[in-house]
């Protein structure tokens, strides 16, 4: 994790106060190689000379817009880029993401959100050498290893089917929160998922047989009546 903090970060915004504020937040989080730019020209210059590893772009810049800037950066660099902008309309968001931005945050934003998204992108892009690991976690009475798709408990090791794996992954991503049956079906069967509710119930029952001590009285994979399911995970 340490190597994330020494990534070179470029902040592009025409407002000096905003640049200063973001820089402050990042420094507090332990990032120290931070570069600032106020317009497209400076940005391109810095990109060529310093070769930052991630850039935070504003859309409205004095000498151009961030979308065009993104396109020109993409001609020589594949570094992750995300937009931080006051343009909050859906079209702008879709345009930015469509051009290949890694994320799109609308001002005003919470500093925590910015940091979380930034580190998420950095982790995803720069820790691939460790392979993108799937989570291994504990629930009441057993360990679920999604990386090797098995459930380990004192009853031994039980393999997970592809559908069970997909369901558990979706539930784990939203652990402690209700996941609607619609969202679960979509995660497993994709697109047009109507009519799979009964199959979903079958798969949930099979998962419970593998991870619950008493499948008819579940403690980890809970049913939220009428809405969906919730996975309770033991704190690591």
């Amino acid at each position: 994790m340490e190597n994330i903090k020494n990534k070179k970060i470029l902040i592009v915004d025409d407002e000096p106060e905003i640049r200063k504020m973001i820089e402050g937040f990042l420094r507090k989080e332990g990032f120290f190689r931070i570069y600032l730019a106020a317009n497209c020209e400076e940005t391109l210059k810095i990109c060529h000379s310093i070769k930052p590893q991630i850039a935070i772009l504003d859309v409205m810049l004095p000498d151009g817009d961030g979308f065009t800037l993104l396109s020109s950066i993409r001609q020589f660099s594949q570094m992750p880029i995300f937009f931080l902008t006051a343009k909050g309309e859906d079209q702008d968001r879709l345009l930015g993401l469509g051009l290949g931005a890694d994320d799109y945050i609308v001002k005003p934003f919470l500093p925590r959100e910015l940091i979380l998204r930034l580190t998420a992108i950095l982790k995803r892009v720069y820790t691939t050498t460790v392979t993108q690991q799937l989570p291994v976690f504990m629930v009441e009475g057993c360990t679920i290893d999604l990386e090797s798709a098995v459930v380990r408990s004192n009853r031994g090791e039980q393999p997970l089917t592809a559908k069970e794996h997909a369901l558990l992954l979706k539930l784990y991503e939203n652990r402690g929160r209700i996941v609607t049956s619609d969202a679960l079906c979509e995660a497993v069967w994709g697109g047009d998922y109507y009519g799979y509710e009964n199959s979903l119930m079958v798969h949930i029952r099979r998962i419970r047989e593998k991870i619950e001590m008493n499948p008819s009285k579940p403690k980890s994979l809970l049913t939220v009546r009428g809405l969906g399911y919730k996975l309770m995970v033991k704190k690591e």
């Binding site: 504020m21 006051a86 909050g88 309309e89 005003p108 919470l110 619609d182």
Partner: protein, 463 residues
């Protein structure tokens, strides 16, 4: 084009009515004006009859009664009696040039025409033939002869004539009418187009050219006004978008530093709490700005809709889960009532979610003591509209204030001021419904809870 046939029918009807009226009028005129004064006081026939009746034989002489004499006097006529041998037996004021004896041929001749240019009329008398003569050039005599077959077919001929007249009138009225309609038709089309606010141009010619000109002028004016209105709407919407954009940057800093202070452990607790309040208010301001922007985009029809077919049941579950996941206070409960999983609408999922979220959030905000919230999906009785109902059993709203709630705050159509909140929520929901060709219906009464119904057109899915 129903209007045109109606005009034509009316026109023909009126024409025929005028024809009939003219016919009757002519008959009356014929009787009262034309034939009036055809004879003086007395017709020749009357005078003749009187003379015949009052001409009496006394020995070898004849005496004419006084009244008949007077009659002749009045008409300035003369009279004579011719016996069977052709001799004049008696006369009255006979002009001197009239001969006193006649052959059969002469008698036959004057009985039909004139006697030495005197118009004469004859009548049979016991002792011969009574002849009365009027002054020259006083009467014109004509003889008429008709074949019997012709007379007997006369009624048929009259009827034919009458029908012919009506047919002619009908033909003429249709001819004139259609020509009139032809010139009126483009005008009618123009006026219809005007009422639909479509651009229209009517060719300027004929008797209605000034009318056509003013239609064209009105159309141009309407188009210009609409364009100006659209431009102004766009400008207004852009203005609001610009302002909300400009607010976002300073707000970022308020939000950023406040939340930074709030989490800074070196800052005393009290100041951290104050920073928290600043952060919360800044977040409120953020949602207000984005609501304002959305409402303005919807109001001026500039919000693009990303339409897809969505099951209402899915939205209900998603909204309920979100509220539960975000730590809904236990004073509130959310219940679902989904009788039919298959109710689908074509809608922008994000917008519709925002509308439903807003309604649920309203129930929570306005009932701080807790309430039961019900999310229900249903179909209207005629299967045409889908309803998404958000209702609570909270304190409710007086019925007469309901219509105000969906009007924009500070607009002229809103009678009362906004009580609490920024008042943009329900207007925004209503506009989201309208953008989906649906509507928002509110039902409430004090103490009976609030019921908000989002009505959207049903999407039929082929099974």
């Amino acid at each position: 084009m129903d209007g045109i046939t109606r005009i034509l029918r009316r026109f023909i009807g009126v024409t025929i009515l005028i024809c009939i009226f003219l016919f009757i009028f002519n008959l009356i005129m014929l009787g009262s004006v034309v034939f009036n004064g055809m004879y003086g006081e007395q017709s020749p026939k009357n005078v003749l009859r009187n003379v015949v009746l009052e001409l009496e034989r006394k020995d070898s002489n004849y005496v004419l009664g006084e009244s008949a004499k007077n009659l002749l006097e009045q008409e300035h006529a003369w009279a004579m009696l011719i016996d069977s041998t052709g001799k004049v037996r008696w006369n009255y004021k006979l002009p001197e040039e009239i001969p006193l004896s006649y052959t059969l041929i002469e008698a036959a001749k004057f009985s039909r025409n004139y006697l030495m240019d005197y118009p004469v009329f004859v009548w049979e008398h016991n002792d011969g033939l009574v002849v009365i003569g009027y002054p020259k050039e006083n009467y014109a005599k004509y003889q008429f002869y008709f074949p019997v077959s012709w007379i007997s077919s006369l009624p048929m001929r009259t009827v034919t004539l009458f029908i012919g007249n009506i047919a002619l009138a009908l033909f003429l009225s249709i001819l004139i009418g259609t020509r009139l309609i032809k010139s009126v038709r483009p005008l009618i089309a123009g006026v219809h187009a005007l009422s639909n606010e479509e651009p229209t141009y009517v060719e300027v010619k004929g008797i209605f050219s000034d009318l056509a000109e003013s239609i064209n002028h009105t159309s141009d004016m309407l188009q210009e006004k609409n364009a100006a209105l659209r431009a102004r709407d766009k400008a207004r919407s852009n203005w609001i978008a610009g302002i909300s954009h400009d607010i976002r940057t300073p707000l970022s800093m308020v939000l950023g530093y406040a939340s930074e202070l709030e989490e800074n452990m070196t800052v005393p607790v009290e100041q951290r709490q104050q920073a928290g309040i600043i952060r919360q208010q800044a977040q409120k301001l953020r949602s207000l700005v984005s609501d304002l922007n959305l409402v303005s985009m919807l109001e001026y029809e500039m919000q693009p809709l990303n339409l897809k077919s969505i099951r209402l049941s899915m939205l209900a579950r998603q909204v309920a889960s979100e509220f539960l996941n975000n730590g809904l206070d236990e004073r509130f409960t959310i219940t679902l009532d989904i009788p039919d999983e298959n109710i689908k609408v074509k809608a922008d999922e994000k917008l519709l979610l925002r509308a439903i979220n807003n309604l649920v959030q309203n129930s929570i905000t306005h009932n701080p003591n807790g309430c039961k919230i019900l999310l229900k999906t249903c179909l209207s009785s005629d299967n045409q509209t889908c309803c998404f109902i958000v209702s609570d059993n909270g304190k409710g709203v007086p019925r007469n204030e309901l219509s105000d709630l969906i009007e924009l705050p500070y607009s002229s159509s809103r009678k009362r001021l906004v009580h609490n909140g920024h008042g943009l929520g329900l207007p925004m929901v209503a506009r989201i419904c309208q953008a989906h060709h649906g509507q928002l219906v509110l039902e409430s009464e004090i103490g009976k809870g609030m019921k908000a119904i989002i009505q959207l057109p049903q999407v039929f899915i082929q099974q």
